[in-house]
Amino acid sequence: MNHSIGLLFGIGFLYLVLLFLIAFIADTGRLPEKLIRHPMVYVFSLGVYATSWTYYGSVGFAQTQGYLFLTIYLGVTLAFALSPLLLQPILRLTQEYQLTSLADLFAFRYRSQLAGILVTLFMLLGTLPYIALQIRAVTDSMQVVSQSEAPRGLALIFCVTLILFAILFGARHSTSREKHRGLVAAIAFESAVKLLALLTIGVTALIGVFGGLDGLDQWLQQHPEAIEKLYQPVREGPWATLLLLAFAAAFLLPRQFHMLFTENLEPKALRTASWAFPLFLLLINLPIPLILWAGESLQLDLHADYYALGLSIAAGPSWLPVLAFIGGVSSASAMMIITTLALSSMTLNHILLPTNFPDPQVNLYRWLLFGRRLLIALIVMAGYGFYVLLEKHEGLVQLGLISFVAVAQFLPGIIGLLYWRRANRLGLILGLLAGITIWSATLLLPLLESSGFIRTEFDIPALRLAAGMDQWQFATFWSLTANSLLFVLGSMLGKQSRGEQEAANACCSESLIPLGGMVNAGSSAQFTKQLSQMLGGEAAEREVKQALHDLSLSPNETRPSQLRRLRERIERNLSGLLGPQLAHMIINRRLQLDVHTQTALADSMRFIEDQLEHSRSRLRGLSADLDNLRRYHRQVLLDLPLGVCTIDKLRTVTIWNLAMEVMTGLRARDSVGVPLHRLPPPWGHLLAGFASAADEHIHHLEVTHENSKRWFNLHKAAIPGPVPVDHPVEEARTSQVILMEDLTNLETLEAELAHSERLASIGRLAAGVAHEIGNPVTGIASLAQNLRHEEEPEVVRESIEEILNQTQRITTIVKTLMNFSRSGGTGTDIRRFTVREVADEAIRLVRLTHHGRQINFQNDCPESITLEGDRQGLSQVLVNLLTNACDASPADGEVGLSASEQEQLVVIEVIDQGKGIPDEDRAYIFEPFFTTKPPGEGTGLGLAMTYKIIADHQGMISIDSESDKGTRVTIELPKTAQVHNEPSISY
């Protein structure tokens, strides 16, 4: 079958259209999310590592260097085996801080724009030959399959198509922080295609050329040198050097970094990839020796790089060359697309944006999108330029290895980033400059010289020979040695900035350093306003909204600690948009921090607790035990049935337990971190006032909230610790714990008991009441009967007067009873009244009882003595005391009531000559439900209520009793109302 250039071009074009379709279907959600997030899709997408170099070049490499070609994949296997130490920490950093490229990662860790620029430039320089290699592989393969010269324009068309694809599916979003599902799906598909193609060619070699395994064995027995040619270079060649280069390339090459970290949709997939990706590489390399031997067996008149194509033409079915060609296009296009995307992102963030930041009037997102797309086109075209300029002296592998040595220069930096806190920007920059210089001198310049592009005076090959090393060993050894030495020296001699120290802590370990300082802007609206001066209104609003959404915060958020978190989040989001260094600069400039404000203890506590909860690795040993103890204590505090609220020096709430939530209706997450006075009324005013007050206790505080009355006891104490290491001791010393005790239920119960006690008293008065009302009623009835026959006006008038007197007597009794029995708590009706009046009323009530009628009462209270307080409460006190006095007195006994004034006090005495209180009962008489009366005659609440009412008035009660001589009860009450020691608070 004749495969013309036109046909191959058409097939290649159709294949790219198929890729467009796959990417489109995945991007528009037509492919199930579960499939796209499947670890195997991720593994296949990592197959972008296998480029034309693997697909075509490995055979040529195996021919000249034997099994050394396997080092390029064994190095990757080693890197993936160490994934928990190497890849997973980088994945965590890139996802947590929205870092989209190696340049971002370095700029973030070393807080240096120069580091970002150097990495970007070096990546560009090191990768352009690699892109040229891919273009050359495609045009060469077309030439091999069609057996005719491929026109130069074809490479250009291939490049333009890839630019279109990369723009449409790799730069759909203005920010690199967005994932490109379509792109991942398409790249995974490409990897599957090239694996299938190579395996098919391998099977063709085995069966079509050797006739099966037996035939292969036979051929190998006839050609023992074939196996020896594979093993010999391993024993003699730069095995370790290539292994090291591949180890670095596994995650530092721009395309690998992009697919491993930036486009990672599911972090857990990396675990599967740690073994599945090396397995993919093993499978794709398995046919390489077979293809090489089949090519040699068939004596193909081709460069070994293209044996896969020649073999498929010579020994395969007619469709195999097309499949082989498509496999090659897959390898080249996937590499070019992903590399270009990664490089465009780096160039945009580290070269274009810092030098040419758009005006705030310009739509930032559109500008970024346009910039990314322009850069994609420029980078692919630069690769094309390299392809045109470079002579074809170098094999495919040579061009690839030049790039590998280039990216290996980032190894010291990345190891320092992950594991050496002291590493700094000076060391990184010095090391990189040295590495780049040696790389350029030993690899790039000879490449350009051999292409006739430049001429130099250096005789690098002579130096190499003198050192007894080959090209790769020489370049790798000297560049990495100089790089590492200067990196270490620079880091030891240079000083880290504060920002660098913070970044080092974030990268190296699970540091527990909270966010410092407070943001000057006081609300999210002010954030937007500040940021709009650099980002423009639309972008500022969108970024602030996005960060609020990420943190589940309200746009009305004003808590300083939350605004500090919001600032941090915006910086991270902007990092994904503009790169870490620019984001850091914008945030520092527009959202300034008041660094002198100490971090609130609440923030430190929350930060440390968050860190402990989401610790990168779980705690172990003593730390784990301490954490368990911490959790236990915290749970005890949270579940305490008493309201617990702690505040730091800045009067910011640090702990707000469940009981506080129930009592106040304020959730802990809305209260912690808020300055006490900013809590909603009435709690803010109440608690802030108490925290500042000199008193350490407030009893029986009445609070009106949402139209209901509540009563609380408040207590507070200073807490001397615990103190975080970076906090001044004074802060913790002035922290406080406030306890809040809800008395509302107790108060309600007491009110109900008091009411019950009054009703019980009324029940006991019932007979007396009937008697007292019955007498006047009988009198009224007699008078009314007499009036029927009476005609004398004077007698009628007298009778009517008498009837009115009798009804007045009834009214007084009823009114007294009603006053007494009225429901309602004590202390609810404060007014001034005459003591004598209340005493008369109490005597009238007590006289209604059976005992009361037999007692002579003497009211000696002067008319002039008045008292401010709860009239009903005092009435109940006197009724209780007089009833007890009556019960203790013999028939016809005397009970006296007197009152006097002593400065600010009114002293009331109730004296009887009864049997007195036995000594053994005296200690219990004020206890509720204690009674000496027979069952049914007393509730045991009378004196307890009396005590409570007097205590509420800030008064005192004392009892002086002598057996068989009588009892004197003395009450001392303030003249003015002091029912509570604080005014009640109502809202």
């Binding site: 296997t77 085996a81 130490l85 196996i227 740690s274 073994w275 093993l282 779980r618």
Partner: protein, 64 residues
Amino acid sequence: MRETPPPERQLDRTLALGLLVLLLLSAPIMIWWTSPDSPWYVPYLLWFTIILFTAWVHHRNYEP
């Protein structure tokens, strides 16, 4: 059901795995598997063994 191992054990296993891979790919062992009598597929077998070890270690590290 087996519990997920503590992190230090996960790191220990990873380090042990890395050392094993380095050992297999280092000079003393290479002399054995690159001898002229070795069949052509020995490097692949060695590679496959490393992959199996990696899968086993990662399975032990993460699967509860």
